[in-house]
Subunit: 137 residues, 2 copies
């Protein structure tokens, strides 16, 4: 957590209550959070408003600390960017439940290949699985 703040500081961000609380929230949440999740967060909702959350997320994404995930149906969600490693998710098409998948990235090597092949740079990818959870099936 302190390390995260340090990274922000080095990138020139000011350490405000909003910033700290947003980082804290994302840090504690084991699943990606949407703007709305954050707006509804008991602590966060008290100390800052929508616009601040929005702009803070924007800044954090800007310095590469956040990964933005674009899930169908549920809209964008954010999660802390922890280096090379990243997780893939499984979403229920019906109720929107998000589940983290335990596996190493199956397309990492492929990504490099595409980078060479297409002359695109700064490659990243998003891999998301969708299905019906047992309850909704």
């Amino acid at each position: 957590m302190d390390e995260l703040l340090e990274r922000c500081r080095l990138q020139g961000l000011r350490i405000t209550d909003a910033l700290q609380t947003i980082l804290q929230t994302l840090f504690e949440a084991d699943l990606p959070q949407s703007m709305q999740d954050l707006e509804a967060h008991p602590t966060l909702s008290k100390i800052c408003d929508r616009a601040t959350i929005f702009r803070t997320l924007q800044r954090l994404e800007g310095i590469g600390m956040l990964r933005r995930l674009n899930f169908s149906h549920t809209g964008a969600k954010f999660t802390l960017n922890t280096g090379d490693m990243h997780k893939e998710y499984l979403i229920c098409k019906e109720c929107g439940e998000v589940q983290e998948l335990q596996m190493s990235c199956p397309v990492h090597a492929l990504e490099k290949k595409i980078e060479k092949l297409t002359k695109y740079s700064a490659m990243t990818h998003e891999l998301t699985f969708y299905g019906l959870c047992p309850r909704c099936a």
Copy 2:
């Protein structure tokens, strides 16, 4: 194309001008189309309005004829669902250019495994690559 219409008919959809033109457009377009792309389409824009496009896409997706792709930045796009096969795409983070990737699906087998492991059914996935195209880099 006739086969597509036949599938619609069998599913109980009425063969209207809007339906035919939308299918035609998606059929001819080699890349996924967004609501806005379709609204701006010279032919389509003349014969029906936004709401009709929206509802027609909804119906087509409902009977499994469309695949909805949720790309970052650019919003949802649609492409005809051609059986088991599906394509993956590479998007430029800067200008939004969409490029089709020539490869067989690298996570098909994995999908089955996850299906068993998680008890989710009707599994699908979305795999999209993002990068900076040569011009934007």
